[in-house]
Amino acid sequence: MSEPLMKLHYNVDGTDFTVAGEASGAVKKVLKQLGISPDVIRKVAIAMYECEINMVIHANGGVIDVEISPDKIRMIHKDVGPGIPDIDKAMTEGFSTASQQVRELGFGAGMGLPNMKKYTDEMRIDTELGVGTTVDMTVYIKQ
């Protein structure tokens, strides 16, 4: 029997702030039902939420594919936004290109990418200006 693999797919609406967090919330629910340990759930939830918010703020939404296998949780966030000009700079804590309007909503503190890196075991960013960005993150499940 092959290893079970659970695939979840979500569309993130880039025009509505209030729906950001729905995908990470839904994934959290599934992980709880699987009996995955709270600290793994927390890492996944925070990393995913940060990424979801970024998709809404910067990239007009996108799609998220989540794959859960017995040893890891992989989250692939794909958008067709403007792309990230300088990834190293974007990874710096406190660096943000968010608009004033977004900052007034309490976002854009420049902790998005650093937090995603901090809470995941693997993170890969593929980005091309004017084409879009794919953030591929993995959190391992230690059994």
């Binding site: 079970p4 979840l8 709880k32 699987l34 925070i46 059994q143």
Partner: protein
């Protein structure tokens, strides 16, 4: 005793009264109710005794187990501990002394307001917040339904819950000590009776989550006491001066009262279980920042909205506000000989995963998603589960069938009918031309 044997829930079903309608399952905040064989069934491990189902059931089939007055006879000295909300129940009462005198008329030797316990907890909470030893924000532990909610649902927030005993427990300890000093009686001769606005408090007495044992002996419901007192309260001629609580302690009855008493700015006061869940979800996802304290009460309006109260919660709120206006502000006294901390660690008690084996749990989760796709997703409740998602979960847990869904059943019947019609048209060779 093991944890399972100790388990007690005040919220319970009055089976003959239950019509098997699906109102309660929709409102249960922890999805702890199913309707099976025409009757509601509470899943014990999921119930937090918030009393939401009691409030919602129009057939009054959900009840709270509370104690009866007959247990009073067992004690030489009986003390009534009215919750702050109790004093807001009587339209004819213009001050709290009238209500407390009324309680003594029912046979209590003394009364001790839980509001005084609240004053003490307020002082202790101020200490905790300013100590810097706790990760902000501290979540109030005054509402036992909220504490249980955190224990079943929010692992990462457990360390935020203030490890303090409740105003009820503090008041019981103070009342008992006073009575001992006054009468010289032994503890077992002194009966402490909490007059409760809600079932969660009853559970907190009979099955405490963070204490070895409650200081309170019995729980009488505000409703029951009200029944005995409502007719006589305006006939009291000699009003004793019994109320000793100050303004802020009394106002714990209303939402926001506890937080306001702390005299801090950075707090959130949330009431109503659905609102509490929204705030805790946000807190768990680290979306709430810069807050030192969260007052979270399961009932809308705070304790005045408890499911065992009589008066409309907005009316009671107004009455308590008005009467307490004239009270002085008293500060609770912290004593070294009073332990206001929990003496048992609360444990994370999540709902069981789909399976103990991770691989099987995953297969079940995958199957569950497939089932959900095939369900109408109308969340009609006719199957007895609150949502299609819950039905799918029940199916993979082996507790329900796909045909419990009336739409699925109809599909199957329609298929069967089609098949029968086909069979009917097939004639044996002897009859065909």
């Amino acid at each position: 005793m093991g944890e399972i044997e100790r388990r007690f829930h005040s919220v319970t079903l009055d089976k003959p009264m239950c019509k098997g309608c699906t109102t309660c399952i929709r409102y249960c905040p922890t999805q702890a109710i199913r309707v099976q064989q025409g009757k509601a069934k509470i899943i014990s491990e999921r119930c937090i005794d918030c009393g939401e189902c009691i409030r919602r059931c129009q057939y009054h089939a959900k009840k709270a187990i509370t104690d009866g007055f007959e247990v009073m006879d067992r004690y030489k000295y009986k003390i009534a501990l009215p919750a702050p909300a109790f004093c807001g129940q009587f339209s004819k009462a213009t001050d709290f002394d009238i209500v407390l005198t009324g309680l003594k008329m029912l046979g209590f030797d003394d009364v001790f307001e839980v509001a005084r316990g609240a004053e003490v907890i307020t002082e202790k909470m101020k200490e905790l917040i300013s100590s810097g030893k706790y990760e902000a924000p501290l979540i109030s532990s005054a509402c036992p339904a909220v504490v249980r909610l955190v224990a079943v649902k929010y692992h990462d927030l457990m360390s935020h819950v203030a490890p303090l005993t409740s105003p009820m427990e503090a008041a019981a300890e103070m009342a008992r000590r006073e009575a001992r000093e006054k009468t010289g009686l032994k503890d077992e001769d002194i009966g402490v009776f909490f007059i409760t606005p809600c079932p969660a408090k009853v559970t907190a007495i009979k099955w405490p989550i963070a204490l070895e044992k409650s200081n309170v002996d019995w729980a009488l419901s505000i409703k029951d006491v009200y029944m005995r007192l409502a007719h006589s309260i305006d006939k009291i001629t000699k009003v004793e001066h019994l109320s000793k609580s100050g303004r802020s302690g009394v106002r714990w009855a209303n939402h926001g009262g506890e937080a306001e008493a702390l005299g801090i700015e950075k707090y959130i006061a949330v009431d109503g279980i659905a609102n509490v869940i929204e705030v805790l979800d946000q807190l768990e996802d680290e979306k709430i920042k810069g807050v030192d304290f969260i007052e979270a009460l399961a009932c809308t309006g705070g304790c005045v909205g408890g499911s065992l109260t009589v008066e409309n919660n907005f009316v009671a709120n107004s009455r308590i506000r008005r009467i307490s206006q004239g009270l002085e502000d008293k500060k609770g006294e912290l004593r070294d000989d009073m332990d206001l901390y929990w003496n048992r660690k609360i444990e994370y008690q999540p709902f069981s995963p789909l399976d103990a084996d991770f691989g099987i749990a995953m297969q079940k989760a995958i199957r569950m998603n497939e089932i959900i796709e095939g369900l109408p997703q109308l969340d009609c409740g006719s199957c007895g589960a609150p949502t299609c998602r819950e039905l799918a979960e029940d199916i993979v847990r082996g507790k329900a069938n796909e045909t419990d869904c009336i739409f699925k059943l109809r599909e199957r019947v329609s298929l069967l009918a089609k098949e029968m019609a086909e069979l009917e048209s097939k004639l044996p060779p002897s009859m065909t031309e």
